[in-house]
Every structure is written in structure tokens, then in C-alpha cells.
């Protein structure tokens, strides 16, 4: 059934090669510009300087990353569980939809970064504030996508399972939730990559630990290469989370049209 197209492996190689070449060329240009114009490192450090600082501050960066990652993970996990549950409740009960949805939209419209300092007033300084900030920063895409997915169930399929004697719980568990998974994963991918960003913003204002705090301190003391090193680590974490969620999505919904190429190829 699965015939491997010889062109596809070449296509895949090109898919890796082009971004790689583009990235290397970009870094070389950056390095040459810094060198040619003798730019001071506090203004714009060269990539080689950033790498050297990343290596020399490795243990510190890893320790701070651990703190940030913990806050991001816990906040995201709560947002995921709570977001799916609230999304399911909004879909199941019209009264919840009518009461809750306008509040959610209003809350989403509020700029979170601006109100971040208020979290210190409400919850104090430290990890708790940071985790709560991650939750409010990430839960909305999960709720919206869960609601969209659960409401997108095929009406004829719902009629069919009604004629098969399915009750509401069976319909939710066997029809609505599996059908909504592609939408829920779309929300997860957005929220998962927002989680470390939320944690870092939380650390800007409400923490004396983590990569966000380190970044603010490094900028304040004009240790720009260290600030760039922190940004580099945060970016790498974001990329890693993106690919991790894509991998989990491939395993969870191999049947979905967006994943079928990889299924057929294997």
C-alpha cells in the first residue's frame, strides 16, 4: 500500500537544506557586520560572542531555564485541563455558554502584559503569581478551539448515533471529543508555545528567578551577550515545544487529513 516516492526524500532533504543555508548565511552576515563596524558587545554582540557566553554561563542558564520551564509547564497543564473542561461545559450547556463566553472574550481582550504587575498586588511575588500568569496567558486558545471542535460535529453523524441509541455522554466521548481533537491540538500548539513567553513575562515583574528575571538583570547591567543568550535559550525552548506538540499530535490523531501523508509513508 505504501509506496515510497523517491522524489519525496529529495524534497525532504531540500526542506532541511534551504533553512540551514539561509540560517548560516544570516549568522555570517551578522558576524561580519558587527566586526566591520566595530559594534560594541553591549549594543549588539556577534553570534560567536553569544555562543561563547551561552557556553560559559551554561549551568546558570540551565538552572534558570528549569525554573521558567517548571512555571510554564504547570501553568500550561492547568490551562489545558481547565480549558478543555470549560470548553466542554460551554458546548454541553447553553446557559454556561451564554453566561461565560462574553466574560472570556472580554478577558481575552484585556492586554495581559499591561496587567502583569497587578498579579504581584493580588498574589504576591514569586512562583504562584508566575504560574497564574501563564494560565491566563494560555487558556483562551484552548477554550476557543475546544468549543469550535466540539460544535463542529457532523449533524448527520449525530443523528445516526442517536438512532443507534447513543446517550449524551457516549456521544461526547465517542463522537464529539475524537472529532474535536484536531481543533484542540491547534489550540494546544498555540498555547504551548505561549506558555514559556508567559512565564518569562511573569518573571519580568513577579519573580527573582528564571530566564525572564536573568534577561532583565542582564539588560540592566549592559551584559547584552548574556541577555541574548537567555533569548536564545527561550527561543530554542519555544521551537522544541512546537516540534514536541507536533509529534504528540501525529501520535494522537494519525487519522486526520493533516497527518495522513506521514501515516501512508510509514
Amino acid at each position: 500500500m505504501s509506496t515510497r516516492n523517491p522524489a519525496s526524500s529529495g524534497e525532504r532533504a531540500l526542506g532541511v537544506l534551504y533553512p540551514l543555508v539561509s540560517g548560516v548565511v544570516g549568522l555570517l552576515v551578522w558576524e561580519l557586520v558587527v566586526d566591520a563596524f566595530h559594534l560594541p558587545s553591549y549594543l549588539l554582540p556577534a553570534p560567536s560572542q553569544i555562543l561563547a557566553v551561552t557556553a560559559s554561563y551554561g549551568p546558570l542558564l540551565l538552572r534558570e531555564l528549569g525554573y521558567t520551564a517548571f512555571a510554564a509547564f504547570v501553568g500550561f497543564a492547568v490551562a489545558l485541563i481547565g480549558g478543555v473542561a470549560i470548553g466542554a461545559a460551554i458546548t454541553a450547556w447553553r446557559v454556561v455558554d451564554r453566561v461565560l463566553y462574553p466574560w472570556l472574550v472580554i478577558w481575552h481582550a484585556v492586554p495581559k502584559v499591561v496587567i502583569a504587575p497587578l498579579f504581584i498586588v493580588w498574589l504576591g511575588f514569586g512562583l504562584k503569581s508566575e504560574i497564574i500568569f501563564v494560565i491566563v496567558f494560555t487558556f483562551f486558545p484552548i477554550i476557543v478551539n475546544t468549543v469550535t471542535g466540539l460544535k463542529s460535529a457532523d449533524l448527520e453523524v449525530l443523528q445516526m448515533v442517536r438512532s443507534m441509541g447513543a446517550n449524551r455522554l457516549q456521544t461526547l466521548w465517542k463522537i464529539r471529543i475524537p472529532g474535536a481533537l484536531p481543533h484542540i491540538f491547534a489550540g494546544i500548539k498555540i498555547s504551548a508555545t505561549l506558555a514559556p513567553v508567559g512565564a518569562v513575562i511573569g518573571e519580568f515583574v513577579a519573580s527573582n528567578q528564571g530566564l525572564g528575571h536573568l534577561l532583565i538583570q542582564a539588560v540592566g547591567s549592559l551584559e547584552t551577550p548574556l541577555a541574548f543568550a537567555a533569548v536564545l535559550i527561550i527561543s530554542l525552548v519555544g521551537i522544541a515545544i512546537w516540534y514536541l506538540t507536533e509529534m504528540i499530535e501525529r501520535l494522537a490523531i494519525p487519522w486526520h487529513a493533516s497527518q495522513r501523508d506521514s501515516v501512508l509513508a510509514s
Binding site: M160, S163, G165, G179
Partner: protein, 256 residues
Amino acid sequence: MSAVVLAGVGKTYSSVEGKVEALGPVSFSMDAGETLSIVGPSGCGKSTLLRLISGLEPASQGTIRVGDREVREPLDDVGIVFQRDLLLDWRNIIDNVLLPAEFRRHDRDAARRRGHDLLRELGIADFATRRPWELSGGMRQRAAIARALLCKPSMLLLDEPFSALDALTRDQMNVTLQTVQIHEHVTMVLITHSILEAIFLADRVIVMSARPGRILDEIEVPFPRPRRLSLREDSAFAEIARRIRIHFEQAGVLVG
């Protein structure tokens, strides 16, 4: 006692532009094990009629009895095959077929055995563990028929099940459905646009008028089973087809 009795059944929908009379009133009855085909122009209320019989929609007037029950809510021992196969992409074929047994909490092993038997009978036993998207349209519709038959329903309702298939596959599906009829002895209502299909599969054909659908004619189909596709070239078969066609010509549905 008749297996199905419809007495003065009609359906009216309300819309912003007022009330739309979609069907009826229509009255007919069916014996157990009988196959009834319903043909009529698009929008005449054929599919609505099927939904009323299954209880998925309430009738606006009249009464429907299936067995000794009056239909007031969705019947739980009816198998329905829709125009689209409605297979769930996240389940393989056998798990799709087993879906009604899961909802009704039937014995899992017995249901699985029955499911595999049906897939064998319908000629897709080798595809039991394949995903729906790996199958052709005809194979998918066979799986949908197996799913509808799994719990040995008292009645099988088919709503234009082969309309999306090519002509050859459709002919083959007619033969396959006839085999199912013979083996399962299930009472069947088939909604179709195809005059030939309606006659080939039915014991009786009901011809409906344009909206609001009313019964124009009821025609007995006397040919014994199993029927061969070549029966369609028989003069008695052609005469029934002609009688149905004349109704549509008179109604302006068929011209020329």
C-alpha cells in the same frame, strides 16, 4: 399484523418565510421482511419520510407504527444507511461497524464475530483493520451497511445509499444488497432516484409526487429472488419502469 403502518403522515416545516409543507399526508403499510422502494423527484419529502419512520423527526400529522409501538422518539432497533457513509475516520472499519453495539452495550465478542461475518458477506473482510480513507466509495458504503445491520435491526432504512457511486459500482451494490436481503430477512425501505434500482430491489415501489410529496402510485414487483441484473432487460421489468417513468413525465420531472 403489518410491520410498519403509516396513517395520514405529513410534515410541515416553519421558516421565516412561513410554513413549508414538505410531505403528505401519506398512508401505507409494510409486511415484515418486505422491501419497499420509494421513488420521487428531488425535494418531494422522501428523506423526510425516512426520518419520520425512524423517529429522528416528529411527524406534524398522522401516526406511524413500527411493530406494536407508535413512533414518538428515535427507534433504537432500526439501522439507517445515509447517502454519505458517515464512517468515523478515527476508527478502523471493524470498529466503525461495532459502533452501535458499543452504544447498546451488547456483548463485545459476539458483536465482533457478527461484524466480521457481515464484512465477509459484504465482500470487504480483508479491509477490517483499514482506515475508512483507504477504501473506495463502494467499499465504504458496504461498511456502512454492515454497521446498520450489526445489531439485527427490525428494519433497515436506506436513504439514497448509492447515489454517490459510479454506475458499475452501483449495479454491484444492488446485487450485494439483494444478497443481504436474502440472508438477513430484514424489512427494508429504500429511498432512491433510480427507477431501475427501485424495481430491482423492491417487492413494492411507491411513486411520489413533487413537493409536498404524496403517493401517486403503488406498484407490486412480482419477480422472485435472487434476481439477476439482466432482469432489467425483461419486458415485465421494463413495463414497470415505463409505468413509473410516465408518472414523472406527467409531473414534468422527466421531459423528452
